[in-house]
Structures are given as structure tokens and as C-alpha cells.
Amino acid sequence: MAVKPILTIVERDFKYFFRYKWWVAGMVSMNLADLFIMAIVYTRMVKPDVITDYFVFFAPGLTITALFAAAFMIGREINMEVRREISHYMLSLPVKRWELAIGRVLAGGLRGIIYMAPLLATTLGITYLYTGAFPAPLEFLTILAALFLVSLGTSGLSIALAVSTTSFEKYITARGVVYYLLFFCSTVFYPIGLIERALPQLTLLARYNPLSCGADLSRAFLLRSPPFSPYMLVDIALYALVFASLALFAYMKVTQK
């Protein structure tokens, strides 16, 4: 296995990402609508003893929603390639299947991180302005590493979903189901204490949900609450490993058909 062909595939997918300016602009506006409309209104409605400032609480969660949307775009493209049989052309390239699959999964993860970067900067600005807290360099690197792993896992999840159906509508709808189940059963929108009170039977699931770990890890360094725990990193790494592997095998299997 050579690194250069993988990098070529990553580079190709990267260039494609920036060709979809409309998509990126649309996604940014959707993410910002969550922060600058929904979170602002909720801030005026939330009990202060539950969340002091919902806008600040939600800001680190925004990076996770952004990352999820961007990492899921690779699945959309692969679904289109499978439908229009462009995957046959991909197989004709002088690249091994393993290399092709690794390149696609990696590109999906990296696209998520690149797209999320300006939103992470927005989050850093907001949390600094409101709380005065700023992460130390090592803490910042830990946030980046954790978010990259979340992005990689999500890219894997989206590819695995994309190759399991040839219908675009089914893919879009399945993406919605995954989004709602993963996000609403996580601490992206609300703290774990609230889930414990409202839906105690889902607490364990919400606590170990990789999106919860990603959001809480960011909050640990940006808002100093909840406290950082190494299990968050382990959980996210496992998520990335499982779904990246699943995507590799699923993608290879589909392209071999």
C-alpha cells in the first residue's frame, strides 16, 4: 500500500468539495441559523439553573453539527457514483481498491475538519467573549484531534449508508434518521443531567454517544464544564475505528460488484 495514491484520491475529493460552493454556503447558513436564531431564542427561555447561557452552551455543539453535515457529503457523492456507475471509472484508475477506499474515507474526514474550522473559530470567539476562557495549545490540539476522529467516523458512517442503497431519496431520508437519533440522544443540544431527568433509560446511550463525547470534550476545554475525561477520547477513537473500517469493507464490496 502506497501513500501517494491515497493522497491523490484525497486531493481529488478535496477539489470536488470546493467545487460545490452552493452546498457549502447553504450548509454554513443552516448551521449559523441554529446558533444565531434557535440558540438565541432558547437562551431567553431556558431555566438559568439548568443552563446559564444556552447560546454559549450550544456554541461548541455547533462544531459537531457542522462537522456531521460536511462529513456526510462524501456519502452523497459516493451514492451518486454508485447510481451513475462512475465507480466503474474509479476502479479503472491505477490505484488499488484498498487505497481508493482509504482515500475516500480520509477525504470525507478531512473535509469535515476543513469545513468546520471557521465555525470552530466562531465558537472560540463566542466562548472567549462570554466566558473569557481560551484553551491552552495542548487542549486546542486535543479538540482538533477529537473532532477529526468524529469526522472520520461520520465519514465512514455516511459511506456505509451510501453504498447500502442506490436510491438518492432513501439515502437522504436515512441520513435524516441517523441525524435525529444521534443528535437528539446526545449532549449536543442539552446537558446530560437533563437527559437523566427526562429520559433516564437513554442516559447511558447519550453518555457514550460519540457526538456527546465530542461536544463535551470541546466544552471541557472551552467552557471548563463538564470536566475532561480520557474515556471521551477512547469513545471517539472507537467510533472512528469501527465506522471507518465498516466503510472500507462496504465500499470495496460495492465497487467489486
Binding site: W22, G26, I51, Y180, F184, I195, L202
Partner: protein, 261 residues
Amino acid sequence: MISLRKVWIVAERDIKMFLRYKFLLIMRAIWFISQIALFGLVVNHMFRVDVQAAVGGSYFNYYAAGIVITMLYSTTVFIGYDIYEEADHGVIEYLLSVPVSRKELVLGRSVGGGLRSFLYVGPMMLFVLYLIGVSNPLQLLVALLSLFLFTFGVAGFSITLAVSIKSSDRFDILMGVIDALIVRLSTTLYPIAYMPPYYRGIALINPLTFAADFFRWGAGLESAASVPPLLAALGIVAFFSIFTFLGVVLHERRLEGGGWQ
């Protein structure tokens, strides 16, 4: 002269097509359940007592009624995606060759798009009405009739955009952006009283606000409605009229000539 029979034939075809998407219908029902049973229940514990009072006693009921309207909206918008599927498979050319005028075709599609989403959201709506507990059936009937007009308007809106843009990717992202803004800048998720003043103006003229508030009024959550019922009804009629007219005009002018991407 428009033949109602032909309009109905087109509408019936769209309804039958929609009911064939069993997988999508089940998946979208999961969307609804997760929004109500996960987000709705948790968020209900998050809000202050004055918020609960302002929304008629229970934020959960307020939210559930709002989610029905967002479901109605997102299901009706689906008609635009259908037009792209048809363009992809060359069905548009076939539809243009059938003995139905363009006006009948687009009216049928608006009616079909609205009716099928009503059929689909119906059971969820009944479930939410059961949760809320209906106090005045006549009031509810009036609200449901207005919601019919609302869905026809949304179908016209989706058709207008689909035939204007003619690119499935741009349509998909534009619908995503509109969905994000139209839902968040309405009273489907929260009452106007808690919105900052700079958002209130948009929320007050948003068709989703009219539909959500009128539905809540019909369900007996009058105190939660931000817009007076008569004004909400007029807003829905205006929305329906504008977008059905635009849908008919643009559909007639732009459907032919290819250029679909």
C-alpha cells in the same frame, strides 16, 4: 377551461406514487417520533415556568403541535424532488404528451402534493391532537381546512422553485436553507414573545407561523397562538393564492425545453 376530472387524475397519480415510497414513509415517521419523544421530552424540562405558562401550560404540547406543521411542510415540499426524479427518468416529456393542459397538470400536482402529505401526516396529527385533547371540534375542523390550503400553497411553492431552478443539487441546498430559516423564524418551535425584536417581524409574516398558530387555535391552545386566528387564516389564503398562481404560470412557461440538471 380547466377540467376538474383531469386535475383529480393528476392528483390521484401523485398520491399513488407517494404511497409507493414505503421505506421513506417509515423513515420519516421515525423523524417525527424522535423529534417528539427525544427532543420534545428533554427540552420540555429545560424551560422556565413563565415559558410553560406562555405556551398554554406545557411546552411539550406546544412543540408537538409545531412539529406537525413542520412535518406537513417538509412532506409537501417532496413534490419538488419528484419533479427532478421525473426529469431524470424522462417522465416529464411523457407527462407533457398526455391530454391534460399545463394548468390542469400543475393544479393537479399542487392538489396531489397537498393531499398526500395530509394523508401521511394525518395519523401523527391525530396522535398529537389526542395528546393535547381537543376542546372544540368545529374550531379544529376550520383549522384543518385552512391547513389543506396551506399544503396546496407549499406544493405550489416547491413546484415554483423546482421548475425555476432546474438543478436538483441547487434545489436541494436551497430547500435546506429555506427549511432552516422558515422553521426557525416561525412559531413552530417557540412563541414570538421570546424572540428578539429583530426576528419578530419576519416571524409575523411567515406562513409556518400562520399554519402553526391556526392549528394550535384549532386544537384548543388559543393562549399559545401569537397571531389572531382571522389574520392567520388570511395569511394562509394569501400564501396559497400567490404560490398556486406562481406555480401555474412558471410551470406553463418553463416545463418545456429541457435544461434539467
